[in-house]
């Protein structure tokens, strides 16, 4: 039995082995639309002899693929498989795929028909969003990795918003806040404008910026966390209201008072018809949430009571190029300015009547043509006369006027400050004088003639500087370099008005320069100049009204008589005396005599002279000197009358008139001979003796008494003049050095608090 069983077992095993060795696998051919190929069976583990390539009209057979991988018949087949034919178009078209992002074409690629586009563009990015993919419509994403192209395609980028920008706070524009602060009362009165009632003015020639001060938060949508962020561009709703005399009326969208409102730039361009009219604006940002809209007034900026004028709105220092318009070839400065305007996109042929500041401006050397400052080559050409060449390079040229405006008949020009600050503090001073010599360090012997603004014009023209806080580059200091600082404004013609300005630290602030036109300084304040605050060169119509000038480095006002022949203008007047009237104004210099100006002009001898003469007055209870608590002795040197011409002692040199309010003028009688006593006294005594005149009606001169001793004598022995000599608030000394100068008279023993 056991033998039979074993034999049976062996036979079964052999039979099973035989069956195993002969199993088959089926290979199926999927021709994907090509000619049919029947399936074949091969032994499992064997290789297939691939049939002839199938055919398909219009296509070229590429090869067989199994599950996306190429099959070339070299692989052993263990299981049933399906071979898939891959085809490519025999003459495929080139298809175009356009990639769009937010409606804008982002990229474009080409691909052969029925192939996969593999050269995809870089994924676009968008602030606060995550790129999802490319979509053919709102819901269908195109999978470039799997889907061959069959036609031209346009796809759009879809993003998921990950964060959003929120308007957090809206406040008045920074420059409007600055305007309000500047036009406010101050504890320190010398920083407070005299007139706090002037309206904000806006020009109609270019757009006015009204963007509020915006605060944004960037919120993460998933977490709700937010942080402060900055947004480059936003959109606003801007409403303009016109004042009709009693109320503000909202203007319609189309109005002849407004040329254009730009909601993205947040600007308003007023029309010419708006000139002279008063307006109000409301500006609200878009994008407020529903909750914020319930308190929309908290997100609305309101600015009212501003007036439109004919003019140009200035936001940067370079735009002050529109102040400049000189009609003559002036040391090539005219062509330099034309080139500067071209280079900066300014219109050379546009000369606005008003140039209006809308922010604080500082003028630096790069904001004006380079012709005004010395180059290395120019300094080198001066040779040894300029010792410190390195210092001189980049310094300002003397006698150059940075901005010049020539005005024709009946033409007007104004620089309107809107209470903002105009600074030239960091402009280089003049260090090379007209003899092309450099001022040696330590010497104060350079008198600057460089000017920030010069105005020239017809007698019918008018010019104005108003509502400006101006900081110059020449403070009242021992630093001799500051004698090279700038003159702020020099007017050679046109009726000029300086109104409601605060000016500090100029070499000279206001200079009527041989002009017969009115030069009015009204409601102005000026402080801390290196030189005088006002320099009147041969101009007969200077008026200082309701103003305050304190802290000159020398006299507050210098009046410089112009001798006939010194000026080439045709005139039959024998010289051009300077004449000034001071109305309700405070003028104080408080100098000790050691200030730079005294050394600069060689007036040091003035100090001991004044002090000597003061002794006689002290004996009569008056003085023109004050002591401070620190022990310094000051004199209030208000004006000096002099003549710029170098000649001997002549009456011409003291020819000038200076009048305080309606008090008797200090007047040599040059103008109307109204005081023959003064005129005769000076005619007889001047050249040999000092003489005095006070606003109390007093007069006298230093002469000899019967015993031959020095005394103060009365003119024509009229003692009433002598008795009044110690009365009044102001004294004029007609000095033998060819100058007359005005001092304030105090009661003896008064002290001065700085």
């Amino acid at each position: 039995m056991t033998k039979k069983f074993s034999l049976l077992l062996v036979l079964c095993t052999l039979l099973l082995t035989l069956v195993a060795c002969t199993s088959k696998v089926t290979v199926t051919f999927d021709t994907a639309g090509g000619s049919q190929i029947a399936s074949v069976q091969i032994d499992a583990g064997g290789k297939i002899q691939l049939p002839a390539n199938p055919t398909k009209e219009g296509y070229t057979f590429v090869g067989w693929f199994v599950e996306g991988e190429p099959f070339d018949g070299s692989q052993k087949i263990d299981n049933n498989i399906t071979l898939v034919a891959h085809w490519k178009k025999t003459n495929p078209k080139t298809l175009t795929v356009v990639f769009m992002v937010d409606g804008q074409k982002y990229d474009e690629k080409t691909c052969l028909e029925e192939e996969l586009l593999t050269d995809l563009p870089k994924n676009p990015s968008k602030e606060n969003s995550r790129f999802v993919g490319w979509f053919v419509d709102d819901n269908t994403q195109f999978d470039f990795t799997k889907t061959p192209l069959t036609e031209d395609l346009i796809v759009n980028a879809h993003f998921d918003v990950t964060s959003r920008v929120i308007v957090y706070a809206v406040a008045l524009a920074d420059d409007f806040v600055e305007f309000n602060n500047n036009r406010a009362t101050k504890t320190e009165k010398n920083t407070e404008f005299a007139d706090l009632t002037q309206s904000y003015v806006v020009g109609d020639d270019n757009p006015w910026k009204v963007e509020p001060h915006m605060s944004f938060r960037l919120e993460d949508i998933a977490t709700g966390h937010s942080e402060s962020t900055i947004v480059d561009e936003w959109e606003y709703t801007i409403r303009v209201y016109h004042y009709n005399g009693s109320d503000y009326e909202l203007l319609e969208t189309t109005t002849d008072l407004v040329d254009k409102i730009d909601p993205k730039l947040c600007t308003i361009d007023f029309a010419e018809k708006a000139v002279g009219e008063t307006f109000k604006i409301e500006v609200v940002p878009t994008g407020l949430t529903e909750k914020q809209l319930t308190n929309v007034q908290n997100y609305t900026m309101v600015f009212e009571n501003f007036v439109v004028v004919d003019g140009y709105n200035v936001y940067e220092a370079k735009e002050l190029a529109y102040v400049e318009y000189r009609t003559i070839n002036d040391k090539d400065c005219d062509t330099a300015w034309d080139a500067f305007k071209d280079a900066n996109g300014f219109d050379k042929d546009y000369h606005p009547a008003n140039v209006i500041l809308h922010t604080n401006i500082e003028i630096t050397a790069s904001d004006v043509p380079s012709i005004f400052f010395y180059t290395q080559d120019e300094i080198n050409s001066f040779g040894d006369s300029v010792k410190n060449k390195e210092n001189a390079v980049g310094s300002m040229k003397d006698w150059y006027d940075l901005y010049m405006r020539d005005l024709g008949e009946n033409e007007n020009f104004a620089l309107l400050g809107n209470y903002y600050t105009l600074s030239t503090e960091h402009l280089r001073e003049v260090v090379v004088d007209t003899d092309n010599e450099e001022t040696p360090t330590g010497d104060v012997n350079l008198i600057s003639h460089a000017t920030l603004i010069k105005i020239r014009g017809a007698a019918t023209a008018t010019s104005k500087m108003a509502n400006l806080h101006i900081i110059g580059n020449a403070p009242r200091t021992d630093n001799e370099v500051k004698s090279g600082g700038q003159i702020l404004v020099k007017v050679e013609g046109s009726n000029f008005t300086a109104y409601n300005n605060i000016t500090i630290c100029s070499f000279i602030t206001y200079m009527p320069n041989r002009t017969d036109c009115q030069f009015l300084i009204e409601k102005c304040k000026g402080y801390e100049n290196f030189n005088s605050l006002i320099y009147n060169w041969g101009s007969a119509n200077l008026i200082i009204k309701d103003s305050e000038f304190i802290g000159a480095g020398g006299p507050v006002v210098i009046q410089d008589h112009v001798r006939d022949g010194d000026y080439d203008k045709d005139s039959d007047v024998n010289g051009f005396p300077a004449k000034a009237k001071v109305i309700n104004s405070k003028l104080e210099s408080y100098v000790t005599g050691e200030e730079g100006w005294f050394t600069l002009v060689g007036a040091s001898a003035l100090v001991p002279l004044v002090k000597n003469l003061n002794v006689a007055f002290v004996a009569n209870g008056r003085s023109f000197l004050k002591n401070s608590a620190s022990g310094a002795t000051f004199m209030n040197l208000i004006f000096v009358n002099k003549s710029g011409s170098t000649e001997g002692l002549t009456n011409e040199k003291i020819k000038a008139s200076f009048q305080f309010d309606e008090l008797p003028a200090f007047d040599y009688g040059a103008f109307d001979g109204s005081d023959p006593v003064l005129k005769n006294m000076l005619a007889e005594q001047y050249k040999t003796n000092h003489a005095f005149q006070t606003t109390g009606g007093g007069m006298g001169y230093v002469g000899l008494d019967d015993r031959g001793e020095s005394t103060i004598k009365a003119p024509n022995n009229q003692m009433e003049y002598l008795l009044k000599l110690f009365q009044g608030d102001y004294l004029c000394i007609y000095a033998q050095n060819g100058m007359s100068f005005g001092l304030q008279l105090f009661n003896a023993g008064e002290t001065y608090e700085i």
């Binding site: 957090y168 008045l172 806040v177 320190e188 605060s215 009242r476 000597n612 700085i754």
Partner: protein, 152 residues
Amino acid sequence: MKKSVIITIAVVYIFAIVVVGFIGIKIKAYNTPEFVTDITCVSDNFHKYDPNNPVHKKEMEKTKNLIGYIEEEFKEGLKITINCQVTPDNATKKALTFSVDENPAAYKLTPTSDGSATIEFFVGTEVIVTIKSTDIKGYSIKIKVTAFERNW
């Protein structure tokens, strides 16, 4: 005027010329004011803007003279104090003024006696504070102060 008085004046006058001419009178030059050239905020919670940080750089470009910020969570009664110092140390006028765009419903600015200022917030909002020197040059800086409250 009596003759004796006139003689007295003359004598004094001549004497003074001699005395002054030889001895002179002691004088001192006018003390040039030292103007403020910089203002810095020294509050503990103040953060100065970093010009290398792109967001900070944009903030400073958008608002002139803006130097930094203070930000705190808004809560009822929130008061933020701003302390500043001037440069140079010997500035003639060291006092500063603090000013904001007035918004009484949102906040109130109160200068203190020690030269600083306190802002009391009534709602969550932001305010730009201008700090200015009181000398005639009027150097100024701005600081952004935020009382943060989710108001949307």
